[in-house]
C-alpha cells in the first residue's frame, strides 16, 4: 500500500466511473420501462465501439463525425434488438425469464457477427484520432481525452435526466414505467414509447462503448463482458430502475475498484466490488435510491 498514488487513483476512478455510469443507464432505463433485464446491452456497447472504430480507421472519418453516427447506429441496433428479442414475447405475455434468455441469444449473435465482420483481434484507433495531450500536475497525470470523456458522459447523463423529467416523451416513458395499462388508457402509444426507450438506452450504451474504447485504446468483440457485471452491480447498488441511482453507483463502483487496488491489491479487485455490493444490500436491500415496496401487480 502506497498512498502517494491516491490522488491519481481517485482521478482514475472518476474517469472510469463516468463510463460505467453511462453504460448502466441503458440497463436501468429498459428495466424501468419493461421490467426486463436486457443482457444484450453489453453487446450494443461493443458494437458502438466497433462501428466507430471502423468508421474512423477504415473509412477515414473524423471522430467528431464518427461519434454521433456510431451512437445513432447503436440506437438503431437497440430497436432491432427489441424487434428480434422482445416484441413477440411481449405480445404473447411471456414470462420475464424468456425475455432474459432471448436477450442473451441476441447478445451472442451480435458478438458472433462482430467476430465475423471485424475479426477477433484487439483493435486500436489510428494515431492522431484524438490529440495526445497530457497535463502533468505534480505526480498526477491528466489526459485531455479523459477530461473530454468525463464532460461528454456528464452531458449525456444530464441530457437524459432532462429528457425524462421535462419532455413529453419523458412523461410518456415514466407513465409506461408506472403502469403500461394505465398509460395505454390515457392514450400513450406504448409500442412507440418502448421503441424510443430502446433507441435512447442503446445509444447511451453505444456512446459508453466508444468512450471506453477510446480511453483504453482497445476494442474487441469480447469487450462487453468487461463491463457487463459492473453494469449489473451498478443498477442493483443504485436501485433497479433509478436513473440518479445508476449515475451515483457508477462513480461509486469506479471508486471502489481503484481503492481496492490501493488498499488491497489487484488480486482482489473484483471481490471488493461485490463485497461492497453485498454490504450495501444488507443495509438497503432496495439499493441506494430504490423504494422499499415491490411493484403492485
Amino acid at each position: 500500500m502506497n498512498l502517494a498514488q491516491l490522488p491519481q487513483q481517485l482521478l482514475n476512478g472518476i474517469f472510469s466511473g463516468s463510463i460505467y455510469a453511462l453504460f448502466a443507464l441503458g440497463y436501468t432505463l429498459i428495466f424501468g420501462v419493461l421490467d426486463i433485464l436486457n443482457l444484450a446491452h453489453a453487446a450494443i456497447f461493443m458494437l458502438g465501439a466497433t462501428v466507430s472504430w471502423w468508421l474512423v480507421s477504415a473509412q477515414g472519418w473524423s471522430l467528431l463525425l464518427a461519434f454521433p453516427v456510431a451512437v445513432a447506429i447503436a440506437g438503431l441496433l437497440g430497436i432491432v434488438l427489441d424487434r428480434v428479442a422482445f416484441l413477440r414475447l411481449r405480445q404473447r405475455g411471456a414470462p420475464q425469464l424468456s425475455a432474459l434468455i432471448s436477450s442473451i441469444a441476441v447478445s451472442l449473435i451480435f458478438v458472433g457477427l462482430s467476430r465475423l465482420l471485424f475479426k477477433d483481434d484487439r483493435k486500436q484507433f489510428p494515431d492522431g484520432t484524438f490529440p495526445q495531450v497530457y497535463f502533468d500536475i505534480g505526480s498526477i497525470r491528466v489526459r485531455l481525452l479523459d477530461v473530454v470523456i468525463l464532460v461528454v458522459s456528464l452531458a449525456l447523463m444530464l441530457g437524459l435526466t432532462w429528457l425524462v423529467q421535462r419532455t413529453s416523451l419523458g412523461r410518456a416513458i415514466r407513465a409506461v414505467a408506472e403502469s403500461p395499462k394505465a398509460a395505454a388508457l390515457l392514450g400513450v402509444n406504448i409500442e412507440r414509447v418502448i421503441m424510443q426507450t430502446f433507441f435512447i438506452a442503446s445509444a447511451l450504451g453505444g456512446a459508453a462503448g466508444i468512450l471506453y474504447g477510446m480511453s483504453l485504446n482497445s476494442i474487441e468483440p469480447g469487450m462487453g463482458s468487461q463491463v457487463e457485471l459492473k453494469g449489473l452491480s451498478i443498477i442493483i447498488l443504485g436501485g433497479m430502475g433509478s436513473i440518479p441511482g445508476a449515475m451515483l453507483a457508477g462513480f461509486l463502483i469506479g471508486m471502489i475498484e481503484v481503492l481496492s487496488v490501493v488498499f488491497g491489491g489487484s488480486q482482489l479487485k473484483d471481490a471488493f466490488v461485490f463485497v461492497a455490493l453485498f454490504l450495501v444490500l444488507l443495509v438497503r436491500p432496495q439499493g441506494i435510491f430504490g423504494l422499499k415496496q415491490g411493484r403492485a401487480g
Binding site: 502506497n2 498514488q5 491519481q8 487513483q9 482514475n12 436501468t28 432505463l29 428495466f31 420501462v33 433485464l37 477477433d120 483481434d121 484487439r122 486500436q124 494515431d127 495526445q132 497530457y134 497525470r141 489526459r143 435526466t161 425524462v164 423529467q165 415514466r174 414505467a177 480511453s215 483504453l216 485504446n217 482497445s218 474487441e220 469487450m223 463482458s225 468487461q226 457485471l229 449489473l232 452491480s233 442493483i236 433497479m240 430502475g241 433509478s242 436513473i243 475498484e257 481503484v258 487496488v261 491489491g265 489487484s266 488480486q267 473484483d270 471481490a271 461485490f274 455490493l277 453485498f278 444490500l281 436491500p285 432496495q286 430504490g290 423504494l291 422499499k292 415496496q293 415491490g294 411493484r295
Partner: protein, 437 residues
C-alpha cells in the same frame, strides 16, 4: 425519479452475481488451465498466434490429401547417387492466418536443403513439404501421410505447440523421430524419446533475461504484473519470480489482471507509486501491447524504468502495435536478427537476398534444425539400413548432437531432448529488436 420499485429482484440478482464471480474466480482457473497450456505460444511470435488460432482455414483432411499429391506444396528433391539420402517430412503452416510463420520456416528450410544438396560429399536431403494449417487434426493427417505414404525417416515441425501435442504422439508410436523447431510449450518432449526440439522453452530464456537485465540495468527492486487467469502468463510469472529471487532482486509488489481486461491503468498507477527500477510483465501478446501503451503514455511511467517482458512480448507484431511506447522493452529470445556471429551473418545475407526480407527467429530455428538433421544423418550412416532401422539410427544420432555450430550458437540437446544453447536478450530500439548491450 424512480422508474421502478423492486426489492426481490435486486437481492436475487446480487446473489447471482456473487455466485458468478466466485465461480469465475475458483472454477475458471482449473477449467482454462489445460487449453491454455496447449495453445501456449511456440516461440515469441507464437503469442500472436494464440489470438488467431480460432480462425481456421476451411481445409479438411480429405481435401488435404488431394492437395498433397497434386498441389504445389509437394516438392521432392531427388537424392543423387552416393551416400544414402535422408528423407525428411516438413510440416509447417503455409495457409491461413498463421502462414506467415510457416512460410518463413519453409523458406529457411528450402535454403538449407539447397545448400546441403550442393555439397560434394555427405548425405543428401529429400524434402517433402506439407501444410498443417494451424489445425491439430490436419497435423495428425500430415504426420500419417509422411510416415505411411512417403516413408520419411524424420519429421520436422509442426509449427505450433498445440499441433505438436496432437501429432507428435503419432510419430512416437510409429517410431519416427520428430524435430520441433518452434514449439516452446512445456511437455512437448515428454511425449516420448523420439521427440526433439531445437526451440528454447520460456523457462530456459527467462533466467538469462533477468541475469543480463540485472547486470546491465543495476536492478535492485521491481514490480511484477501478470494475468492471473491464464496458464501461460502465470507459469511465466512463476519463472520470473524464482529468477528474481535467485538474483537477489526485491519484488516490491505483485499486481494481476484478467486476460479479458483492457484497463490496466489502475494496476500500473499503483506500480508507479512503488517507484521500481523495472516492471516485469508476463502476458500474452494481446494485453502486452495495451500494457505498454497505457504504462508509457497514460500513466506516464518514466522511460528510465525498464519494462521486462516474457515470451508474449517477443513479437514484432506487438512492437509494431505498441509503436513508440515499446522503446526500451527488454525481452529474451532464442535468436536475434542482429546476431553477429559468422554463421548468422551469412545466413541473414543469403536469406535476405533470396526472399527480399530478413529472417526472423522462426527462420533461424528451422534453418538450424535442417543442419541438425543433416549432422545426425552423417553420423547415423544410413546405407543398407531398413526404414525402421534408419529411423532409430537418426533418433540415436540426434541424441549425440554435441556442440554443433549453428546460427543459434553452439548447439546440443539436453538429456530431456530440449534445446541447449545460449539465449539472447533483446531490447527494442527504433521500433526493432536489438541485442541488449
Amino acid at each position: 425519479m424512480i422508474l421502478k420499485r423492486v426489492r426481490s429482484q435486486s437481492v436475487a440478482l446480487s446473489l447471482l452475481l456473487t455466485g458468478a464471480v466466485i465461480a469465475t474466480a475458483c472454477g475458471g482457473e482449473a477449467a482454462t488451465a489445460t487449453p491454455q497450456s496447449q495453445i501456449a505460444p511456440t516461440t515469441g511470435t507464437g503469442a500472436t498466434m494464440v489470438a488467431t488460432i480460432g480462425v481456421e482455414t476451411p481445409m479438411t483432411a480429405a481435401t488435404m490429401g488431394t492437395t498433397a499429391s497434386t498441389g504445389p506444396d509437394k516438392g521432392v528433391t531427388p537424392g543423387t547417387a552416393g551416400a544414402t539420402p535422408l528423407k525428411v517430412g516438413f510440416a509447417f503452416i503455409t495457409s491461413g492466418d498463421n502462414a506467415v510463420y510457416g512460410n518463413s520456416q519453409k523458406a529457411a528450410v528450402q535454403m538449407a536443403v539447397e545448400e546441403i544438396n550442393g555439397m560434394s560429399s555427405g548425405p543428401k536431403l529429400e524434402a517433402v513439404y506439407e501444410d498443417t494449417a494451424a489445425k491439430p487434426d490436419q497435423a495428425i493427417t500430415v504426420f500419417q501421410k509422411f510416415i505411411n505414404n512417403d516413408n520419411v525417416q524424420v519429421i520436422m515441425g509442426p509449427t505450433l505447440s498445440n499441433e505438436a501435442k496432437s501429432s507428435d504422439p503419432v510419430a512416437q508410436k510409429a517410431g519416427v523421430p520428430v524435430l520441433g523447431v518452434s514449439n516452446t510449450a512445456g511437455g512437448i518432449t515428454d511425449i516420448g524419446d523420439y521427440i526433439y526440439r531445437d526451440s528454447l522453452a520460456e523457462f530456459q530464456v527467462i533466467p538469462e533475461t533477468i541475469k543480463q537485465a540485472k547486470d546491465k540495468l543495476k536492478l535492485t527492486k521491481v514490480d511484477l504484473l501478470y494475468a492471473k487467469d491464464d496458464a501461460f502468463s502465470k507459469s511465466g510469472a512463476d519463472v520470473f519470480r524464482t529468477e528474481l529471487q535467485k538474483n537477489g532482486i526485491q519484488i516490491i509488489n505483485e499486481q494481476t489482471f484478467a486476460t479479458a481486461d483492457t484497463d490496466y491503468k489502475t494496476q500500473i498507477t499503483a506500480i508507479k507509486a512503488d517507484n521500481p527500477d523495472a516492471i516485469v510483465v508476463s502476458a500474452l501478446a494481446k494485453p502486452a501491447q495495451t500494457i505498454l501503451q497505457q504504462a508509457r503514455r497514460d500513466v506516464g511511467i518514466d522511460p528510465k524504468v525498464a519494462i521486462i517482458g516474457g515470451n508474449g512480448f517477443n513479437s514484432p507484431a506487438v512492437v509494431k502495435a505498441a509503436g513508440d511506447t515499446a522503446e526500451g522493452l527488454i525481452v529474451g529470445a532464442a535468436w536475434n536478427p542482429n546476431a553477429n556471429d559468422e554463421l548468422s551473418k551469412t545466413f541473414i545475407q543469403k536469406y535476405t537476398a533470396k526472399n527480399g526480407k530478413g529472417p526472423d527467429q522462426f527462420a533461424a530455428q528451422a534453418y538450424a534444425g535442417t543442419y541438425i538433421l543433416y549432422d545426425a544423418a552423417k553420423r547415423a550412416n544410413l546405407s543398407g539400413k531398413s526404414p525402421a532401422e534408419a529411423r532409430t539410427a537418426i533418433r540415436d544420432a540426434l541424441k549425440d548432437t554435441k556442440n554443433l555450430p549453428t546460427v543459434l550458437g553452439s548447439f546440443s540437446f539436453t538429456d530431456k531432448r530440449d534445446a541447449n544453447h545460449p539465449p539472447v536478450v533483446q531490447v527494442v530500439k527504433d521500433g526493432k529488436f536489438d541485442i541488449l548491450k
